[in-house]
Symmetry: C2
Subunit: 197 residues, 2 copies
């Protein structure tokens, strides 16, 4: 078995991107609970894989129950939650992977922190813009009902503010279009960027 | 542009492994500072890439300065350091990637915690077994000298214990062999496992 000359340096991001035939980036999906952001993110991941690309969704399911299981919902903990997510997204991105984050991330300040950790040129904000009324109608997880009943407090859109992105890189309005259209919009956006490795 | 039928489920680890043509796992390198574990880990990463596999080293360089920058060196913080690392390694592994962790991780208890987070069947302990005298002779970063002079306290091997693995999956004795031999041992170990996806 042949071993190459050894030099003590981790593979660079650009070496990884070349090997994977893709430019890596962080796609940061923001929007209300029930806006459809995770559904679109997960579908985007599958579409990328089916085209031979390597992507990874980070969302509440794989983050809150694992690395961030020791965080609560105080303002400080919410900040630390997003800080860690952004740092993990950066690790995946530096690994050459198209990293798709799907988190409500309700405030301009919190998303700005994520942008600064990841780096301006690698951070793309995707606003899944679904009106509160529609999210509340869908209420897939029954959370809005609980929030209205006061069983959950600090719920974004009900008794905690959501600050919409001012100038998102992509805005997806899910209210009046089929899901497949929303996914196509995210996919077209990504494919245009993925080729510049 | 064709969009597949959408179903709301993240790609599974086994779908990812198939797409990447590899079994994912966590290789956990443990050993003293200066034992050579990161050098071997980084060389292994390159060897795997050159064979078309996807791997990622996690070590102090990309972890301590990023996600764990808010941790110190108290016992509690060292534990949280390793807990977060193990959770991140698990995310990478679930992403289908051969994940190579290189951390002193000095105690049986701390490595047991990592093993439990990652899962017994996916965690492989690689002991880079270099005698303290040799690590101290090398002293690449000048840390042993500082520890001996009392400028650093709690330094593993000097005034803080290192508990050697009892039954490591692989033991690499670097003292009497060339680095290329050590890398080959790690590579052979990994290639044997990587094919069972």
């Amino acid at each position: 078995m042949n071993i190459h000359p050894i030099y003590d340096k981790m593979l660079s991001r650009s070496e990884r991107e070349k090997a994977l035939h893709q430019k890596s980036m962080v796609l940061w999906f923001t929007g209300l609970s029930g806006s459809g952001k995770s559904t679109i993110a997960v579908a985007l991941e599958r579409e990328l894989y089916s085209r031979g690309y390597v992507a990874q969704v980070l969302d509440g399911d794989n983050i809150r129950h694992g690395i961030n299981s020791n965080l609560g919902f105080s303002i400080e903990d919410r900040r630390e939650n997003i800080r860690r997510i952004a740092e993990i997204a950066k690790l995946f991105m530096q690994s050459g992977i198209v990293t798709i984050c799907s988190f409500i991330s309700p405030t301009l300040e919190i998303r700005q922190m994520a942008r600064e950790i990841i780096g301006e040129q690698d951070f793309f904000e995707i606003f899944v813009d679904t009106p509160l009324e529609i999210c509340e109608q869908r209420d897939v997880k029954g959370l809005y009902q609980k929030a209205r009943a006061g069983q959950i407090t600090g719920f974004t859109g009900i008794d905690s503010p959501y600050e919409a992105p001012v100038n998102p890189d992509l805005q997806i309005k899910t209210a009046n279009q089929e899901l497949a259209h929303s996914v196509r919009a995210a996919l077209e956006f990504t494919l245009e960027k993925i080729k510049h490795y």
